[in-house]
Symmetry: C2
Subunit: 143 residues, 2 copies
DNA sequence: TCTTAAATATGATTTTTATCATATTTTTGT
DNA sequence: ACAAAAATATGATAAAAATCATATTTAAGA
């Protein structure tokens, strides 16, 4: 479903959503521990997310990672796309090709509608939305 | 979602459902080509499925793989369980742990119901069911 | 301007998954 | 019994994903 890396990345971004802003930056070593991901590994993922403008960062003394208001509007899928690649979810459940509505594989009819809902959800849920669920106590961290 | 190996295995089993029975066995080299999977690789998967009694086989001259009537009643999930391992699907969308209803992760509420439907479908669809869809022209092979 | 603390770039290593190769065992037909 | 043809067992190699290590660049503060 989601790769280990994507899960890690989402957890890290959520952590930033809850614990950072333009004024308050967080450095990798203070992110890696609470989300239970090796520091060097999450660092690499965060760098990639920053390069793709999913999250923000500034380096040097007093630097760190953080989320701007704009960053928070991004969808969860945008994180996954950066880490796992765009076409990860479009692949057919049974083959290595893309899912083809006109020539569906045997599993398409019964499974694709649900998979499609998952995709649409990931696309429509913003980082801010998810963070709010945690703040409201409807969902739990850390993991 | 499904590993490459599981996809391969399902394709092979479907091929057997459509082209074999107790009287008509098929050997690996005649399975691998039509389903587009390397022979040595699918051989290994089929052996494992046979050992776990998902499919049937007999060796030696005139031997091969085939599906008995009982084999056909198995669910698609049983194939996946053998190849990818039982707990592959139970894992949380956001963590490495099992999905926990009482302490749901932030993605649980919006995604789990759909994932759950996919799981239930895989558990309820039999090999025979899937083969029928192909025979009726509702789904297409090869892939 | 210099030191320090941070991200960044790059690449090496390890682990897992996928793939390939081959010797052994079993069954059937002669 | 024997020869041939099949699955089976075992393990080696290759590719991809995950993890670790380290040198470089950048920014803040003294
Ligand atoms: S064609 Fe296979 S899932 Fe759509
Ligand atoms: S707890 Fe994460 S998907 Fe259920």
């Amino acid at each position: 479903m989601l790769s280990k890396s994507s899960k890690y990345a989402i957890k890290a971004v959520l952590f930033l959503a809850l614990n950072s802003n333009d004024k308050k930056k967080v450095m990798v070593k203070d992110i890696s521990e609470p989300i239970n991901v090796p520091q060097a590994y999450i660092a690499k993922l965060l760098q990639e997310l920053s390069r793709q403008n999913i999250i923000s960062s500034s380096r040097g003394f007093k630097g760190g990672f953080y989320l701007s208001d704009n960053n928070r509007k991004q969808s969860i899928m945008s994180i996954v796309n950066v880490i796992d690649g765009e076409k990860n979810f479009n692949s057919c459940m049974l083959s290595l090709n893309e899912c083809d509505e006109d020539k569906p594989c045997p599993l398409h009819k019964s499974l694709y509608p649900f998979k499609s809902s998952i995709i649409r959800n990931l696309e429509s849920i913003s980082i801010k939305d998810l963070a709010l669920e945690v703040e409201l106590g409807n969902a739990f961290l850390p993991l």
